[in-house]
C-alpha cells in the first residue's frame, strides 16, 4: 500500500483452501493466523517484516469453524469465536508462532458467538452473540486469566439486549473506557461505558446506522475506530 496515495499493488497469493476467513495478527506483527472455515483448520504464518510476505508454519484442527479471531494483548493466545459452534476457544502460541493443538480453553457459550477480544488490561473479555438462527442476542462478559488462557464468567455473565439487536463485533476507544458494538440485526452501533476495575459494560447510547428512508435489507458487520479516537 502506497502510504501517500493508498494505491495497492498485488504482491502475490498464498494458497489457503477451505474458505479462509478470520485473520488475527500478534501485537509485534510477527505472526498471522487464518481460519479455514470449511476445513476446520487454523493456519499459522510468519510475516516477513520487510516485504509482508507470508511463510506457513503449520496448522491445527478445530472442532467448529470460527467467524472471528484475535490475539490477546500479549500475543500468547489466539482467541476465536464460533457462531454455530456456540463456543469461545483459546489456543496458546507455542514455539516460533505455531499453535498448540490442545486448546487452553474451550468455553461453551451459545449459538451466535461472533467476536472475542480482551480489553487493554488483558483481564477481561467480551463475546457478543447475534440474534439470528437461534443466537443468544447478548454480550457475554468474562474475566480472562492471561496466565492460563482460561475464561471465567463475570457477574453478571450477560448484557441482555432488546429483541433484534444482535451485537456482532466491537472495538475499544483508544484512550477512554468506552466500547462500541456493531449490532447485526439492529443495523446500529451501541456505546457502552466500561468499568476497568470490574470489567462490566453499561449501555449509554444506540445510534441507527442506516441512511434515511433506507428500505432494503441491511445488517451490520465490521466496526473500527480511528487510532486517535475522533
Amino acid at each position: 500500500m502506497d502510504e501517500e496515495t493508498g494505491a495497492l499493488t498485488h504482491q502475490g497469493d498464498v494458497s489457503a483452501p477451505g474458505r479462509p476467513a478470520p485473520i488475527a495478527v500478534d501485537p509485534q506483527q510477527q505472526f498471522m493466523y487464518v481460519a479455514r472455515r470449511d476445513d476446520l483448520q487454523i493456519n499459522s504464518y510468519r510475516i516477513n517484516s520487510s516485504d509482508g510476505n507470508l511463510t506457513e508454519i503449520g496448522s491445527i484442527a478445530i472442532p467448529t469453524d470460527p467467524c472471528h479471531m484475535a490475539m490477546d494483548r500479549t500475543g500468547k493466545f489466539l482467541l476465536s469465536a464460533h457462531y454455530m459452534g456456540a463456543r469461545a476457544m483459546v489456543h496458546r502460541v507455542g514455539n516460533e508462532g505455531a499453535l498448540e493443538a490442545e486448546p487452553a480453553d474451550d468455553f461453551h457459550t451459545e449459538i451466535g458467538a461472533h467476536c472475542f477480544q480482551t480489553d487493554p488490561s488483558n483481564q477481561f473479555a467480551f463475546v457478543p452473540h447475534i440474534d439470528n438462527r437461534g443466537g443468544a442476542n447478548a454480550i457475554f462478559q468474562f474475566k480472562f486469566d492471561e496466565g492460563s488462557g482460561k475464561l471465567i464468567p463475570n457477574s453478571p455473565a450477560r448484557v441482555l439486549q432488546d429483541k433484534n439487536v444482535g451485537p456482532r463485533h466491537y472495538c475499544f476507544h483508544p484512550s477512554l473506557d468506552i466500547l462500541y458494538f456493531s449490532n447485526e440485526q439492529g443495523s446500529s452501533i451501541s456505546v457502552y461505558d466500561f468499568d476497568r476495575n470490574f470489567g462490566y459494560l453499561s449501555h449509554k447510547q444506540t445510534v441507527n446506522n442506516l441512511p434515511k428512508d433506507w428500505t432494503m435489507f441491511s445488517k451490520c458487520s465490521q466496526i473500527r475506530i480511528i487510532p486517535n479516537g475522533r
Partner: protein, 68 residues
C-alpha cells in the same frame, strides 16, 4: 457518544473493512462483487473513494499491518 456524519457508497455487501494505522485510508471489501475499495479519510472523518481493485470472489477479511 456518537453523532452520525453521513454515508458513502461502498462495494457490494461490505462485510469487512479496516483502517490503516496512520488513519489516512480505509479499505472496504465487497463480499458479492469481489472488489476492494480504497477510501481517503478526511480530517473531518469523511470518506472519499480513490480506487477500486478486483481481488477475487468473496473477500471475507481484510487486515492492514503497520509498515515496519
Amino acid at each position: 457518544m456518537l453523532t452520525p456524519l453521513g454515508h458513502t457508497p461502498s462495494q457490494n455487501f461490505p462485510r469487512v473493512f479496516d483502517i490503516d494505522p496512520a488513519a489516512k485510508f480505509l479499505l472496504s471489501a465487497g463480499l458479492y462483487d469481489g472488489k476492494v475499495g480504497v477510501f481517503q479519510i478526511s480530517e473531518k472523518g469523511r470518506l472519499k473513494k480513490t480506487a477500486v481493485y478486483d481481488v477475487g470472489e468473496e473477500p471475507m477479511w481484510i487486515t492492514i499491518l503497520n509498515r515496519q
